[in-house]
């Protein structure tokens, strides 16, 4: 009796798990194109603004000889990779009426990636680093202020 009850419970649990997996697969397979949600856009721009501000601090620290070569190279390369990964998330369609904001964020992300690469290649050129740091600060401020209206 107890064995039969355990078997029945095991079948029931198995069936529920299978149903849950099928439901999750269906939701994923049947997903329709949707505009980017406002909170997702905020997360992306916050991340990019953080990368921009960190890049600015790194560039300023390099002009003051506060960083070693390996540290500076590693941080610039990896923040650059992070910016590239985050920028891909902006490829989703922007919400109606806010396409220009999303497009502007894409452009700023591209400019930030270029600044990071330039800084990595010119880590001993203090004048260039100062100019790059100023641009990164501007990008960071603009990204941090960006938002789209929830639909």
């Amino acid at each position: 009796m107890a064995k039969a009850a355990r078997e029945a419970a095991a079948y029931a649990v198995g069936a529920l798990v299978a149903l849950a997996v099928l439901a999750a697969l269906y939701v994923r397979a049947a997903a329709m194109p949707e505009p980017m949600a406002a909170d997702e856009f905020s997360r992306i721009t916050r991340q990019l603004a953080s990368d921009a501000h960190e890049a600015e601090r790194l560039a300023v620290a390099l002009t003051r000889s506060e960083l070693t070569r390996n540290y500076g190279e590693y941080q610039h390369r990896h923040i650059g990779e992070d910016v590239s990964d985050t920028r891909k998330k902006l490829d989703a369609p922007g919400p109606a009426g806010d396409e220009a904001v999303v497009e502007r964020a894409r452009a700023l992300a591209g400019r930030l990636a270029a600044d990071l690469e330039a800084a990595r290649l010119r880590m001993s050129d203090h004048d260039a680093l100062e100019r790059i740091a100023e641009d990164e600060a501007r990008i960071g401020r603009e990204l941090a202020a960006m938002q789209i209206v929830p639909q």
Binding site: S42, Q47, H53, E54, A61, E66, Y71, Y74, Q75, H78
Partner: protein
């Protein structure tokens, strides 16, 4: 007791107290919430002191390490589930620490990422195979002490000491620059769990038995856990203050491990940066060693097989397979290119779910006079034990929902 042994034991406990989880959650927490998480460092440090001392005392009196207690105190299916969950958390933690050590090697010496992972794992295997437990603890612990540079960096940043002081009083975030309450709760749970990681007591109690502690060394157990983990808590506070002073209110979310060292560079320059990186290397390397050994201890102890660094591989095959297998599996995962900082988020949050099952059997035995005799918990230690167990259980219940609701703390 030899005073040099006592000094070295305490120093090792300080340096060996900080791992990837603490580095990540303290600096990120300081960046997001300023000094508001300082109270968590105090509460968490009190918790680890309480349970580390208890685990050493129980191990010395009963001659049973943490997982043997768990086998005896929990029903077999639950015990096996906890063993499996602990092994999973050890795998994530060791992966994060090996990946972290490789990143710090890159920050110090440059080089290719995967090559540095192989170097880090190779050095770890060599250290664990060819050194005994005490030199391992001393080398990693003492060189990890270079992290003290974060204390100097925190002071050099000239923080607003009134605000620092108020951070030791629990309060809810009210500053407009801070994320919401759910993210705050996520960091509270994450930091608390990072300080109380279960492998620390598994390693501590097994280490006490490996080094042949007897009831005469209760003073050593007390001083190592109280003084060592208290000073380790000071390091945790310094990390939060450094993160807050460098990043709070500047829209920087330090999600790369290298960024953890940036506050030191900004305050103390390149030499300070090098010291911070050396400290981080040995802290995360030491944590990888402790996690690997804790896994070997857990599996061998649960199944009642011989264990210990002092035994040869053929005398304790399950123990050796447990830790060598963990290092190799962690290396394989790290080589896939997964980000160590993301792995550490998962390891810390999943660890908190296992915590009640780690600390409950310990508390049950430590308060049992029939097993512990005169060394059983007194009423005050017992009361704090229950309070912390309640806190840990609350964190365990909240961890996964908070992780999902806050997108891993990103709001």
């Amino acid at each position: 007791m030899n005073p040099l042994d006592l000094f070295l034991g305490i120093m090792s406990a300080i340096g060996g107290n900080v791992d990837m989880g603490q580095l990540v959650f303290t600096i990120e927490g300081g960046a997001q919430f300023g000094y508001m998480l300082l109270w968590v460092a105090v509460v968490g440090s009190a918790g680890i002191i309480l349970f580390a001392e208890m685990s050493g005392r129980v191990a010395v009196v009963t001659k049973k390490p943490a997982f043997a207690l768990m086998r005896d105190e929990l029903a077999r299916p639950l015990g096996l589930a906890v063993l499996a969950a602990s092994a999973g958390v050890n795998l994530l933690t060791c992966t994060a620490n090996i990946g972290g050590a490789a990143l710090v090697l890159q920050l110090l010496f440059g080089g290719e990422e995967r090559l540095m992972m192989l170097v880090a794992a190779g050095l770890l295997l060599a250290a664990l195979l060819f050194l005994k437990l005490e030199p391992i603890e001393r080398i990693f612990g003492l060189l990890g002490l270079a992290l003290v540079v974060f204390c100097f960096s925190a002071v050099a940043a000239s923080p607003d000491w009134t605000r620092v002081g108020s951070g030791f009083i629990p309060q809810l975030p009210s500053d407009a620059r801070m994320p919401g309450l759910a993210v705050y709760a996520y960091y509270v749970v994450g930091l608390f769990s990072a300080i109380l990681m279960p492998y620390e007591v598994h390693f501590y109690s097994s280490g006490a038995l490996e080094q042949g502690w007897t009831p005469k060394q209760m003073a050593s157990n007390f001083s190592n856990s109280v003084v060592g983990f208290t000073l380790g808590g000071v390091l945790t506070v310094a990390l939060i203050v450094s993160g807050a002073a460098a990043f709070f209110g500047r829209s920087i979310d330090p999600h790369l491990l290298g960024t953890t060292a940036l506050p030191v560079a900004l305050q103390l320059g390149a030499k300070g940066l090098l010291l911070a990186l050396v400290g981080m290397l040995f802290a995360v390397g030491g944590a990888a060693a402790e996690t690997a050994l804790a896994n070997g201890y857990a599996i061998a102890q649960y199944f009642g097989r011989p264990w210990g660094e002092g035994r040869k591989p053929r005398q304790a095959p399950v123990f050796y397979a447990g830790w060598i297998g963990l290092v190799l599996a962690s290396l394989a995962i790290a080589l896939t290119g997964v980000a160590p900082v993301e792995v550490v988020d998962y390891s810390v949050l999943f660890a908190v779910v296992v915590l009640p099952f780690t600390y409950w059997p310990l508390l049950a035995v430590a308060r049992d006079r029939s097993k512990m005799g005169e060394h059983a918990n007194g009423p005050i230690v017992d009361a704090f034990g229950w309070i912390f167990l309640a806190l840990i259980t609350a964190c365990a219940l909240a961890a996964i929902p908070l992780m999902i609701a806050t997108h891993m703390g990103r709001g």
